[in-house]
């Protein structure tokens, strides 16, 4: 079968590899009808996530048809049309039972690796390094899906792939980011980063009752899309001081909650940029926390910092004094996708949102190397690429 494989920094290739088999009794094998490239795949592409191996199959946003099942699977059968959550979760441990699916105790075969880095291990993820389990990913024609009875959601045949695919990651991720803001009437939510997760965070904040959403980015096309979703926008190209601009826009209070939908690869200006890039180059700091610093400064007292953007290592010069003085609350982590899939499918079915608005490019799997390159450079208005592996 065809699969998108990682070979190093800025080197992905479409290779012919064997088709996956059922390995465990609760596995399924899914024939992929639609798959996508995620902004977080760029962290792998850019070489910021350790423990990838040459030949690893990438991709964690995919859906398709069940074509094989292990002998313990009860509620999933051949022929079912499913969307697969990017978090691999057993459904039976302390965390899964409490809907903290991305913290699953059991699904990471390389838990020891994550424990060495983080003290504890979370769930395994598809195509996201050996630290996260080393599972083969979904940018392929077929994928093995472990614990297929506690993750994949069946979707009705009348809803097209493009409307439900993003239940696999970015819609729940944006939604959880907004939910983590504990939005009350009158709240103003600021969202840094108008990539796909930021766009879903904007729309989810409105679905959850936000009064206003202010979106911050520097790409005009992305700011346009944010405005189309109802947000006011701030462009880095048009202001010297985002924190002051946000104060001016909120009667001096600051946003009630701030969403960092950028994470570890933030672009930043000036001296701080030099500082972070130098430390990254010397391996003294793995992530660039520019957005996080700005959000902490900007947030109103007693507000919430919600972080869906991925961080993987160490950060530096985080204004902890400001966070403490202002009594901020921090909420973050990989998305508990399974918690949100049914709820959001319901919203899609009711026509409250059509997630396909985010798609900018439809391509073949064979075009993945070009897609990664252009997406990484944000060329040609690349925001979200979907690929049909059988085209």
């Amino acid at each position: 079968m065809k699969a998108v494989c990682w070979y190093g920094k800025h080197d992905v290739r479409v290779e012919n590899v064997p088709e996956p088999d059922v390995l465990n009794p609760r596995d399924a094998v899914v024939r992929v009808t639609l798959t996508a490239i995620c902004g977080s795949d760029l962290h792998l592409y850019d070489g910021f996530i350790p423990t990838l191996k040459k030949g690893d199959i990438l991709g964690h946003e995919f859906m398709g048809e069940v074509v094989g099942t292990g002998n313990e699977l009860k509620n999933i059968k051949t022929g079912d049309r499913v969307v697969v959550p990017f978090t691999i979760s057993c459904g039976q441990c302390f965390y899964c039972r409490r809907e903290l699916w991305s913290l699953c105790d059991n699904s990471n075969p390389n838990a020891w690796m994550a424990e060495a880095m983080y003290g504890f291990s979370g769930a395994g993820l598809y195509g996201y390094s050996h630290l996260y389990g080393g599972y083969a990913g979904g940018q392929a024609q077929y994928v093995r899906v472990p614990y297929a009875d506690s993750g994949p959601i069946k979707v009705p045949s009348e809803i097209p792939d493009e409307k439900v695919l993003f239940l696999s990651d970015i819609f729940p991720t944006g939604y959880m980011a907004a939910e983590n803001c504990s939005i009350s009437p009158g709240d103003v939510i600021a969202v840094w980063g108008c990539g796909p997760v930021g766009q879903f965070a904007i729309r989810s904040a409105f679905l959850l009752g936000a009064e206003r959403v202010i979106a911050i980015d520097r790409e005009e096309a992305r700011l346009d899309l944010a405005r189309a979703g109802g947000a006011e926008t701030v462009s880095y190209d048009k202001t010297d001081d985002v924190v002051e601009t946000l104060k001016l826009m909120t009667g001096g209070r600051g946003p009630d909650a701030c969403i960092d939908a950028v994470g570890m690869e933030a672009h930043e200006p000036g001296i701080a940029a030099l500082y972070d890039r130098t430390k990254q180059a010397l391996m003294l700091e793995s992530d660039r926390p520019h957005v996080l610093r700005e959000a902490i400064q900007a947030c109103r007292k007693g507000g919430v910092i919600s972080i869906p953007g991925v961080y993987s290592g160490f950060i530096d010069k985080v204004p902890m004094g400001a966070a403490f003085a202002k009594g901020l609350t921090f909420r973050m982590g990989q998305t508990h996708v399974q918690k949100y899939m049914a709820l959001l499918l319901e919203r899609i079915s009711r026509g409250e949102i059509d997630p396909s608005f985010i798609i900018s490019h439809r391509m073949r799997l064979d075009d993945a190397p070009e897609a990664y390159r252009k997406f990484q450079k944000k060329e040609d208005g690349y925001i979200k690429i979907v690929m049909n592996p059988f085209q």
Binding site: M1, A3, C5, Y7, R13, E15, V17, P18, E19, P20, D21, L23, N24, P25, R26, K53, K54, G55, D56, I57, E72, C90, G91, Q92, C93, F94, R97, D105, N106, S107, N108, P109, A111, W112, G124, G133, G134, Y135, A136, A140, R144, P146, Y147
Partner: protein, 211 residues
């Protein structure tokens, strides 16, 4: 709980075949129970090894919480013959009588170690303690405790055992493999037990496609 022994064993065997070193390094509880005794002769297959330094006794303690009742975990553990299903390096455990059992572990390069262990204390649903018998190829003692965790969090398992690294070549081979981190090897065994008891399977990626 339905236990897919065949499947788990298949997975373990596969893992060993494909990648013997990690599987052995992950060696669970049994390896810790291995101590080759004295400096007398050791049966080995195809490997010549130098005698070892004598080291001090090593104590290993590890704990894990499993979301199942203590009695259930105890029963599976006490059925010693099922232990090789989740402890990678164990080839087999044969129960000789209620107190005594015969253990075979697989080591690097096709080596095997065999020994007899006796249960020295047991409390139904709470505790099992063991010791290798006098004159065994291997010498160790230890215990496993099962205690209910607060607030319906399942059962806390505490494993602790002590062994002296051996003065012979077989023991040396094992000690070298294990010596770097015997306690993470134990944790890996406990983790597999937890995965097995909570989900009925041990997660794996062995055999999946790659480029």
């Amino acid at each position: 709980m339905a236990i897919e022994q065949g499947n788990v064993i298949r997975g373990v065997v596969k893992q060993l075949k494909n990648n013997p070193l990690p599987a052995i390094a992950l060696a669970g509880l049994g390896i810790g129970m291995l101590v080759a005794k004295g400096s007398s002769r050791f049966r080995m297959r195809g490997v010549e090894m130098r005698p070892l330094l004598k080291l001090n006794s090593i104590k290993v303690e590890r704990s894990v919480t499993i979301d199942r009742p203590a009695q259930e975990l105890y029963s599976v553990w006490r059925n010693l013959e099922s232990l090789p299903c989740f402890i990678d390096h164990l080839e087999s455990v044969k129960v000789i009588n209620p107190a005594r059992s015969h253990w075979i572990a697989k080591g690097p390069a096709g080596m095997r170690l065999e020994w007899d262990a006796v249960i020295t204390a047991e409390k139904e649903g709470e505790e099992i303690a063991w010791r290798s018998v006098e004159g065994s190829q291997v010498e160790t003692e230890g215990s496993v405790l099962f205690r209910s965790a607060p607030g319906n969090r399942g059962t806390e398992i505490n494993v602790s055992f002590e062994y002296r690294p051996p003065a012979g070549p077989v023991g040396a081979a094992f000690a070298r493999l294990l010596g770097r981190s015997p306690s993470s090897a134990v944790l890996e065994g406990l983790r597999h037990f937890k995965q097995y008891m909570e989900t009925g399977e041990i997660p794996t990626t062995e055999g999946q496609p790659k480029g």
